[in-house]
Amino acid sequence: MTYIKPRFRHPELPKNKIGYAKADYEGAISTLCAGCGHDSISGAIVQACYELSIEPHRLAKLSGIGCSSKTPTYFLSNSHGFNTVHGRMPSIATGAYLANRELIYLGVSGDGDSASIGMGQFVHAVRRNVNMVYIVMNNGCYGLTKGQHSATADLGAQSKTGSVNPFPSIDLVGLALELGATFVGRSFSGDKTQLVPLIKAAMSHPGFALLDVISPCVTFNNQSKSTKSYDYVRAHLEATATIDFVPHKEEIRVDYHPGHSASVELHDGSVIQLHKLAPHWDPTDRNSAVTRLQESKIKGEILTGLLYIDPESQGLHDLEQTVPQALNTLQEEDLNPGAKLLDEINESFR
């Protein structure tokens, strides 16, 4: 059953630059378990889109299959959505983006969806630098099929039924860095202050932007020996930096501390302001990101925040040298060479 929210709005609700209230970015009422981390991420998406004044119809939301992949129903009801099949959203997103480079593509996936069945597609979307935001709602288990370990479950983590995971985990963030991803971040569903600016920065990035968001499953993976429970995650969080996203043409108000601060300017003129919490890390240096990630892993920390960004990133369309207009707007005159040319082609086969 899908619940539709009442559309009554208080006339004095605050509006963003294009005149939309936050409610205009919401979706149907969630049918996920109360307290599920995924719902908080949906909330952060709504907040980020509201703050960025995105026109909802200029964004397409795509997902695979899983509790996480259901969430696009719960935000941005004025956007087209595509709930694809398990693990295959990256290819659909690639095709959609190739057809129309002008929309914003927001992909939502789960750790099962991305790190197991869809690993192949995930890896190749990273490699092709498809211009999209790719959020993995990572709970270390298969929520929708009732709590089996996923490939991101930590070695030794115990599931609700008591089975201990004997395999090392796949770290999507480390993998993406290795693959040459141009934007890599990690966050926690319970940390909106960090997550909202990260989503905003990811949306402004011209290329594949991975956000691995730890998102506890309250029903199947929130017990004491889980390493993806609210308590465990909170106790082990460590951030690269505090982050502030300043959209294009807005005044930068953050205090700047030399040595501790860094700012990265994006293609569209917006700026990511970072207050660094570790001195030896530079967000535009892939090696320093890899090193920083390794350090935290050894210490048993969950490193969050923006880890790496390539400000020179070029999306797949630029790599493929396609025309600037959306391919889906090309008309027959552009596409069909006509009968006369076909005669010439025929002649070449005689």
């Binding site: 026109e55 119809h57 956007s79 690639t94 095709g95 190739l98 057809a99 552009d334 596409l335 005689r350």
Partner: protein, 616 residues
């Protein structure tokens, strides 16, 4: 010794080692015959290997225009010691065996009933050329030169082909022509020529072209307006996308900026290839993939999604021998059922069956219209024989007044006027609903596409009634499609005989020839060529109007016959399978013999005449 005495009616087979550059020399031979106005049909028989294994090229020359395969080799050109025993054995009594006699032929290869023509090809090129690669390449050209004398191929036609081929590498023209002359002069000096099989110029080719089906499909995709191609390499479909790439990089480049009006994705696998296609068409572009059996198996899940979520897609299935990896470089029609019903649940797909390159072009271009109109995958069912071999075909045709049919897509203005948009609401009873493309209107027309069950307004539902309404509407859409897909071709204005014959795709050439052979024996058949699935009324009528119908196909299990029985509820006994599945294109004699056998065992000839429907 037997005399063959044939003008413009014989088969030449070349036995080569793959990777030695023989293909271009063999093509030159075929093209020369074509340019002499004589119908002919070349076929590659090649291994799944890049270098070093036997490969054959067979050219059937037929004054009467029969383009199917014919058993029996009249002239064997053997430049492959590995396959020599097999090659000697395959020559017809009275036929010719042309070979490289630089090394003496082993006595085991000597037959009393065939002629031997030895040419010291290796020696000749050793003396003439110094570069080892050139020696290998020109050895092939030498035997073409020899054939020109033996079979009466006009030398100037061969020279013309070389000049065309090396327009951009003029330096290569002279040494190629030199190699031709070496072969020609050798025959002049040492043998009687021409042979008792030979060529004579005709005017039977008319405006035909010589083209492979994959190139024609690629051009069909370009003319059909495809902008996104996604694929994963697999024989025999690979050349569809390579040809697409070759032509779009000439035809679809913005002249001012050099930017591309297309995108080609070599995906990580066929799953992803199909996903890219669905993503692109969902978003309003025209998009296609090309693959073969193993790829279709991988694409099944997505084909089901496209069927159920109603998203257009075009898939060119260039079939090859199955099951599994099967015979990857041999031809069959083994994916009829797995394509028609690809994916789980009550899923069916529209199939198109081209039988010539011209039809590959036409049906691929129309597939995009059908996909948009019916918002569903369309599978163009080619095969290795059609796709990878060159065929003499009517020219590709396009009418400039023809417009793309983009189907029911709502524009922003139409949405503006609409009270409430229902993505899966059948407003006019044909089972086809209006769709919207993302980004069209700020507040109207957005919906959630999903592979799960949904109501008319695209809302997720597990309500049984809503589910039934939806799948019943899909069945209604299927009924509508029956009227829109290409109808079968009937070869008589009226069905007059008791027995009929059904064929499709590449069995067509051989079937038409077999009908002529049978007619000579007094057996008349009505014929129908199926061009699409779902089957429409005409297909059913044809079967109903005949006592028995032969169904010709290239797979073990008579899959088309099963599909006919299943979909039309005709009596299985009424349909007699005529099958060929050894990986080689079906020859006319096979059809003729199998049908003749059935006649002998089932019906005495007199009965058959009695059973004939009187002409009215």
């Amino acid at each position: 010794m037997e005399q063959l005495n044939a003008v413009n009616d014989f088969v030449v087979r070349f036995a080569n080692v793959n990777g030695t550059g023989s293909a271009s020399a063999n093509n030159m031979f075929a093209k020369a015959i074509f340019r002499m106005g004589i119908p002919m049909s070349p076929k590659n028989i090649f291994p799944s290997n890049i270098q070093g294994l036997p490969t054959w090229y067979e050219v059937r020359i037929s004054e009467k225009g029969y383009l199917g395969r014919r058993e029996g080799i009249d002239l064997m050109v053997c430049v492959n010691p590995q396959s020599m025993a097999e090659d000697v054995a395959s020559v017809k009594p009275g036929g010719y065996f042309l070979y490289d006699n630089t090394k003496k032929l082993h006595p085991q290869f000597i037959r009393e009933d065939i002629h031997y023509i030895g040419i010291p090809m290796t020696d000749m090129v050793m003396h003439q050329y110094s570069d080892p690669r050139q020696r290998q390449l020109f050895k092939n050209v030498v035997y073409v030169g020899a054939l020109s004398a033996l079979l009466d191929i006009e030398f100037e036609v061969l020279a013309g082909i070389i000049r065309d081929q090396f327009k951009k590498k003029e330096k290569l023209i002279a040494p190629n022509i030199k190699a031709l002359e070496l072969g020609l002069h050798f025959i002049h000096k040492h043998y009687d020529y021409p042979l008792d099989i030979r060529l004579e110029r005709r005017d039977s080719v008319k405006d035909s072209i010589l083209i492979d089906g994959n190139t024609a499909c690629a051009l069909g995709a370009i003319y059909g307006g495809a902008t996104v191609a996604a694929w994963y390499p697999i024989t025999p479909s690979t050349s569809v996308v390579s040809a697409f790439g070759k032509y779009v990089s000439k035809l679809r480049i913005d002249p001012e900026t050099g930017k591309r009006k297309f995108a080609i994705v070599q995906a990580e696998d066929e799953l992803a290839a199909m996903g890219v296609v669905i993503g692109a068409t969902w978003n309003g572009a025209r998009s296609f993939t090309a693959t073969s059996g193993p790829g279709v198996s991988l694409m099944s899940e997505f084909l089901g999604l496209a069927y159920f979520a109603e998203i257009p897609a075009v898939l060119i299935n260039v079939q090859r021998g199955g099951p599994s990896t099967g015979m990857p470089t041999r031809t069959q029609q083994p994916d009829i059922l797995s394509s028609a019903y690809a994916s789980h649940g009550d899923t069916k797909h529209i199939l198109l069956f081209p039988s010539t390159p011209a039809e590959c072009f036409e049906l691929t271009a129309s597939a995009f219209d059908l996909a948009d109109r019916f918002q569903t995958p369309i599978l163009v069912m080619s095969d290795l024989d059609l796709g990878m071999n060159e065929h003499m075909s009517p020219p590709l045709a396009w009418d400039d007044s023809r417009r793309y049919d983009r189907g029911k897509v709502l524009s922003a203005e139409e949405l503006e006027k609409l009270e409430r948009f229902g993505r899966y609401l059948d407003v006019d009873g044909d089972g086809i609903c209006y769709r919207t493309i993302p980004g069209t209107h700020p507040t109207k027309g957005s919906y959630f596409t999903r592979g799960t069950s949904k109501d008319e307004y695209a809302k997720y539902t597990e309500n049984g009634d809503a589910y039934v309404r939806n799948v019943d509407r899909l069945a209604r859409k299927w009924e509508t499609a029956k009227q829109a897909v290409p109808p079968p071709e009937l070869y008589q204005s009226e069905n007059r005989n008791a027995y009929g014959i059904i064929f499709f795709g590449t069995t067509t050439y051989a079937a038409l020839e077999a009908m002529d052979l049978l007619r000579e024996k007094g057996v008349e058949l009505d014929a129908m060529r199926i061009r699409s699935f779902p089957f429409n009324e005409t297909v059913l009528q044809f079967i109903e109007q005949h006592e028995k119908v032969f169904v010709i196909e290239q797979n073990r299990d008579a899959q088309m016959r099963s599909l006919l029985v299943n979909e039309l509820e005709v009596a299985p006994k009424q349909l007699i399978p005529i099958l060929n599945y050894d990986g080689k294109p079906i020859p006319a004699d096979t059809i003729e013999q199998q049908i003749a056998k059935t006649f002998n065992s089932e019906t005495r000839k007199d009965d058959l005449h009695k059973a004939q429907v009187p002409a009215s």
